[in-house]
Symmetry: C2
Subunit: 291 residues, 2 copies
């Protein structure tokens, strides 16, 4: 017995170094890697956070000058063109301008064009000076390949974010990211950012494809270590190196994510949630006092 | 500047093999290890799940015969006596009988006696044949040492459970557990159960002290690998071995958990939660359809 849903989806994470301010060159660099991944059979390609603008802005004017509205974005046009030409799905970070401000966003693009946008809900550090907090919730996009959720970098520190993707049936969560070094990270094991992906993949039975940038921008280093994790929580590609451009690829049977939520005759990861208990304490109605 | 809150708390996890049905011997084995840990300076001692009864029951009659009510429990009395004598806090798993059924519980005991009980909210596998689901929420106990949350084994697969402890200000989450092998676990890295503890410690800034049993009971192997994790998510003791009895000990400054939630001038882990976004989709009111 097999079905289209059982087809392996070839997932690719593109790790590279965008340069702040060099919109055209960043797009071109991404495009070259997308074409390479397509040549190697990729179906779904993930690019880093803010892959068109770069990350470390000095002024709001600079951030605005590097942003674009979805309806008039060279970034989205470029990705839509190559997605159509190479029959790809692409999830990539871009600097989005809206009437009410800037968003640290990711576009989900398919062979038929733009599918949707995710706006980062949890802003990290100085992002708070330039961006508004996401206002589109945690959308999960139903596509030909399967259901795609999107989180960006610091979002991954919030287990609620992964859970909300999984509760909507996400098969894979794509993570455009610009992970930065953590103070107490030991050398001998996975980066904590990787461990958060593994843990979330395991406890939600979702695949995770995280594409991180590399390089140091205006004094801020980024850590690379992009990876693709299966729905049991184990890396199937990567972690990539800490500094080099690279393309990670893995065949993922996204059907495993759906089946994998049933653990035995008694346990199913989502059904076992104790909504009755959580409801009293989670959510806007109940804000416990200890922060 | 220092304060009592800055004092290091010596945390101990006791890893050993209870034998199903041998209540008296199991208590004695636990007691010997508690005394050893106390000799080495322990302030807070954690014992495995169902450390008095053993785990793999064959019948409900057997499970009932190994259970005790909090008000008349040799287990609680034993722990209260040694806690008083050695000035300890103890968190240990026991088989609890109530008028309305059995619970897979943990007692929190201090020098002045029983502080409270936690009842496992997420039952694993055949536990569903013998136990009722926890009905005490996720209590956090304010003690002389700091705030103590408790989770038991499969509870740790639910990020909501850790979060609810942290939102109530837990400094440390004690985890009596009987972890079992996972099918796809690679040999070369942390057990997934350990990774879940590390991830939860990091994203909530809580210490985690997990005490797992060892041995094989009626065909069911357990994996040991107890560990103590700091509030940044890294092991400070263990993981212990997979099969041997052992006492893990680590000095933990529980004040670090509270301070550690503030990451920089913009970010505080609990405050950065997007309650406004989560509320729409988490909790009893909203049950999304895809499981």
């Amino acid at each position: 017995m097999s079905s289209h849903m059982e087809a392996k989806t070839v997932v690719a994470c593109l790790q590279f170094e965008p340069i702040v301010g060099e919109l055209e060159a960043n797009l071109q660099k991404g495009l070259e890697l997308i074409e390479k991944a397509a040549n190697d059979g990729a179906d779904l390609v993930v690019l880093p956070e803010l892959s068109d603008s770069g990350y470390v802005f000095e002024t709001r004017d600079e951030a605005y000058s590097l942003s674009s509205a979805v309806t008039d974005s060279a970034t989205i046009r470029t990705w839509a063109d190559v997605a159509k030409k190479r029959h790809l799905h692409i999830v990539g970070g871009f600097c989005e301008r809206q009437d009410d401000g800037l968003y640290n966003s990711a576009a989900v693009v398919g062979p038929d064009g733009l599918i949707g946008v995710y706006r980062k809900n949890h802003l990290w550090g100085a992002e708070n000076l330039f961006f508004e907090r996401g206002n589109l919730g945690f959308p999960v996009f139903n596509t030909r390949l399967g259901r795609i959720g999107v989180l960006i970098c610091y979002d991954g520190w919030f287990p609620e974010a992964w859970r909300l993707c999984a509760l909507q049936g996400a098969d894979i969560v794509c993570v455009p990211t610009n992970w930065v070094p953590m103070p107490s990270q030991p050398d001998h094991t996975y980066a904590m950012s990787n461990i958060l992906c593994m843990s979330a993949a395991h406890s939600n039975s979702v695949f995770v494809a995280a594409a991180c940038r590399v390089g140091t921008e205006r004094g801020q280093p980024f850590i690379g270590q992009s990876l693709i994790v299966n729905n049991e929580g184990w890396p199937v590609a990567g972690p990539a190196g800490k500094t080099e451009t690279s393309i990670l690829m893995a065949e993922c049977n996204l059907a495993d994510a759906r089946r994998g939520r049933t653990l035995n005759q008694f346990n199913q990861l989502m059904r076992d949630r104790r909504d009755d208990v959580y409801a009293e304490m989670l959510g806007a109605e109940a804000k416990p006092g200890w922060y």
